[in-house]
């Protein structure tokens, strides 16, 4: 690796594209060769007796987890089965197993890194999180909650899809680096009562009660309540290692508590969903220049949404969907600041919004699948306040409203049986930051029955959020507003190859280039020492990914991949928290048929730059044993995370004194699910 690093920058950038192109060309050559031997086409197949048809091996496109989203992209899918088998506890666990993604945790929130862009401290404003199509990102921070702060119990997830690349042509703002699409389970998937209980390291206790049913008329009901209480461990931070600071140990401050509710009812094309969650997290890091080891440091995130949807088929070729939603987000952050004396300072944010969406999907014209949509959202409140609790002193009381709308159209045009063209464009208008128009172009070509190539181009944007625009408090560790922020933009190109070597062996390879301009960055103004958000020029990431999936007839499954990327700013310096190498391996193994299975997971994250230095590369192994049929209706799983107790760290962000934040060592979890 050192050899690569010693090369001059321009050489380095040129060097790896051909290296990734080589295997792609190789695969193309192989598949073209495979195509000649492919003779059994339609004419022959219909001529065969049905017994022969039953005996033919098939390239089962639907055998691999199928994407359900309309994006012409190399989508990663994790199913409910994977969630159980690999012992995933949070959405962050699910996402970090996917191609090209990595997660940074600052012991308060989890941040998603996508293809070399990992803006620690950005509250995931650059990914859009959808739950059954409802936009979860709030209207103050635009935060996509992915850690324990995500309001839905992962046990209620049927599948998670990650669609990398710009999605603004369909979804508008925030679909910047990608879209996380969470699809929840339905009543029929639970079928009766289900109780789950788990216990784990750091005094983790969690439980869930779920009821699900499906009526004879097709109506489905799902009701669920969950709770999590993790005491956490005492955390040592060498940066604070002085006798006055308890020798650098933050005591009983890493706790994580949450409760959540989810209800959904659907009948004859109408769906009503209600979700509520509250998560309280102790903050042991003394972020934002707080007093170290003060038990009052915490954040509380409360989210609620009500989502009503109606899908109606107008006729066989046209379907109309309408959606009405109501969203609420409340944040409380308690910070202990030493003015002196040490004073409890509180952030309170209130977001209230409602919106409507109308979407028409038409297949009226042969070969075309047209999607037309309009979306309107009213931000009734985008309020931020900050004050000292005792003596009461208001430092910020900012109240905002807003509205935005979007109009979009997309056409999926099957030019021939083997060529699909995907064209889309969306226009957005936002009362705060103006309008934006974003196109997307996709071309999907099936070279042979086993090989397809996709070429994608698109742009996306993100408006500065209320926090970035208006948050301001004076004093040390304070911030200043920047209402002149402009939206940031991304331009993205991607080439994807999917090839089936055998029906049960699939390769996905991709090359990408993302260029971001007007990037909104959290920085400190050297003149006054205040935090401020600024549009800081631009950054470019390019790289490639390879992923291999193998299925065995006994139920074993392997997914492994490697990605390499380089993300640099305009001056050519590598970005902070951007690993050059990422590697993943997920192996599902049946040990005793269906009754005992093992899930093995390996994740490698390469060396990353921090603000002041680097964090070394690391590899973490996680193992889960799942016993599905312990007794009728009883399921037990045991997981060990970070099996080899690997010591590793994530880069700290601007608000941390710590340049690196040490992550968890080995952790255990036992989980019991009883259905009756």
């Amino acid at each position: 690796m050192d050899e690569t690093f010693r090369r001059p920058a321009h050489r380095r950038r040129m060097a790896f594209a051909p290296r990734l192109l080589m295997p792609m060309c190789l695969v193309l050559t192989l598949s073209a060769w495979g195509g000649e031997t492919e003779t059994l086409r339609m004419a022959d197949l219909t001529g065969l007796p049905i017994e022969r048809l039953l005996d033919l091996e098939v390239y089962g496109a639907s055998r691999f987890a199928q994407k359900m989203s309309e994006a012409p992209s190399a989508v990663s899918v994790v199913t409910a089965e994977d969630i159980k088998l690999f012992g995933y506890r949070t959405l962050a666990d699910i996402l970090r197993s996917m191609r090209g993604l990595y997660v940074t945790y600052d012991r308060n929130y989890s941040y998603l890194g996508v293809r070399g862009f990992g803006r620690a401290g950005d509250y995931n404003t650059r990914v859009l999180l959808l739950v059954d199509g409802y936009r979860v990102n709030d209207n103050i921070y635009d935060q996509a909650p992915i850690g324990a702060e995500f309001g839905l119990d992962v046990d209620l997830i049927d599948r998670v899809e990650f669609v990398p690349g710009p999605g603004s042509s369909l979804y508008g703002a925030n679909a910047f680096f990608g879209v996380i699409n969470v699809v929840t389970k339905r009543g029929a998937d639970v079928h009766g009562m289900q109780v789950a209980a788990e216990a784990g390291s750091a005094y983790r206790r969690a439980g869930r009660v779920t009821y699900g049913r499906r009526g004879d008329d097709g109506a489905e009901l799902l009701l669920s309540a969950s709770g999590l209480d993790e005491d956490g461990r005492d955390r040592y931070f060498p940066e604070f290692d002085t006798p006055a600071n308890n020798d650098g140990v933050a005591r009983k401050l890493d706790y994580d508590r949450k409760h959540s509710l989810f209800a959904r009812f659907s009948r004859a094309g109408a769906t009503l969903a209600l979700a509520h969650s509250e998560r309280k997290k102790g903050v042991p890091t003394a972020s934002f220049n707080q007093v170290f080891n003060d038990p009052r440091s915490l954040t509380i995130d409360r989210q609620t949404f009500l989502d009503a949807r109606l899908d109606r088929a107008l006729d066989m070729t046209e379907q109309l969907s309408g959606r009405l939603y109501l969203g609420r987000y409340d944040f409380r952050g308690d910070y202990v600041v030493n003015y002196p004396p040490p004073t409890l300072n509180r952030d309170l944010s209130r977001g209230r919004w409602w919106g409507a969406e109308l979407k028409l999907v038409s297949t009226r014209f042969r070969g075309h699948k047209l999607v037309l949509g309009a979306e309107y959202q009213r931000d009734a409140r985008r309020d931020q306040a900050n004050f000292d609790v005792e003596p009461r002193n208001t430092l910020l009381d900012d109240r905002r409203k807003g509205r935005k709308y979007g109009l979009y159209v997309q056409d999926e045009y099957s030019v021939t049986a083997d060529l699909l063209l995907n064209l889309g464009v969306r226009h957005d208008d936002d009362s705060t930051t103006g309008s934006a128009t974003n196109p997307r172009l996709g071309l999907i070509y099936r070279l042979t029955p086993a090989t397809s190539v996709k070429a994608l181009y698109g742009t996306a944007y993100r408006s500065p959020n209320a926090y970035e625009l208006y948050y301001a408090i004076p004093g040390p560790g304070g911030s200043k507003a920047n209402p002149d922020l402009k939206p940031e933009r991304i331009r993205s190109g991607e080439l994807v190859l999917e090839h089936h070597f055998r029906p049960d062996l699939r390769l996905t390879a991709s090359l990408f280039r993302n260029k971001v301009t007007n990037l909104i960055s959290f920085t400190t103004d050297p003149n006054d020492g205040l935090f401020v958000y600024r549009n800081l020029n631009e950054a470019t990431a390019r790289g490639g990914e390879l992923e291999l999936e193998i299925l065995w007839s006994n139920g074993a499954k392997l997914r492994t991949g490697y990605s390499r990327q380089s993300a640099r700013d305009a001056a050519g310096s590598p970005l902070v928290n951007s690993p050059r190498h990422l590697a993943k391996l997920n192996l599902a193994l049946p040990l005793a048929g269906d009754s005992l299975r093992a899930g093995l997971e390996l994740q490698h994250v390469g060396r990353r730059n921090t603000r002041a230095g680097t964090t070394p590369a690391y590899t973490v192994a996680n193992v889960t044993l799942l016993s599905a049929r312990l007794a009728p209706g009883l399921e037990l799983s045991a997981s060990v995370y970070n099996l080899f107790d690997k010591a590793y760290a994530d880069p700290g962000s601007e608000e941390h004194v710590q340049d690196r934040l040490v992550q968890d060592g080995r952790a255990l979890r036992l989980k019991l699910i009883y259905s009756f």
Partner: protein, 183 residues
Amino acid sequence: MIALRRLILLILALAALPAGAQPVPEYELKAAFVYNFVQFTEWPADSPWDSSPTLNLCVSASSPLSSALYALNDRAIRGRRLAVRFVGSYDALPGCHVLFLDAADRPRLAQIRKSLAGAAVLTISDDSDIIRDGVVIGLGLLDNNRMGFEVNLQAMRQARLTISSKLLRLSQPISQPISRPSH
């Protein structure tokens, strides 16, 4: 770069594995099954079968199978011409002898059922949900990378269809999740 090189070697090694008989594409194979099902099905005497010069196979134009099914257009089946129709509205459904439904049809299933209302239509689907809900023939991938199908006798009787015993003999349950080992 070592990791990448190893990965390429692994891929090459896997590619070189003996593949046996060349597998066939899924959608084309499914279409061939549909063609067979039509051949082995008899419609009741009072169905539009008698009055219509064509045997109408209906599918939504957005179905991934639409292209593969369209390749069956104009084929002769027992003296009739097979006409693949991309259905335009529910009113046209009574004209369908065969209706292929896929996952995209889930939301409009209730409506489709209503408009079928016991008509003599051979409903076929490759979606596990729709199969569970009751269609005459369900198609699905089995664990051994082969295609299988199951005939729902109750649905068959409701649609007043007669399906050849040869087909019934080859029918096997496929609606279980495919990831489960078959033991």
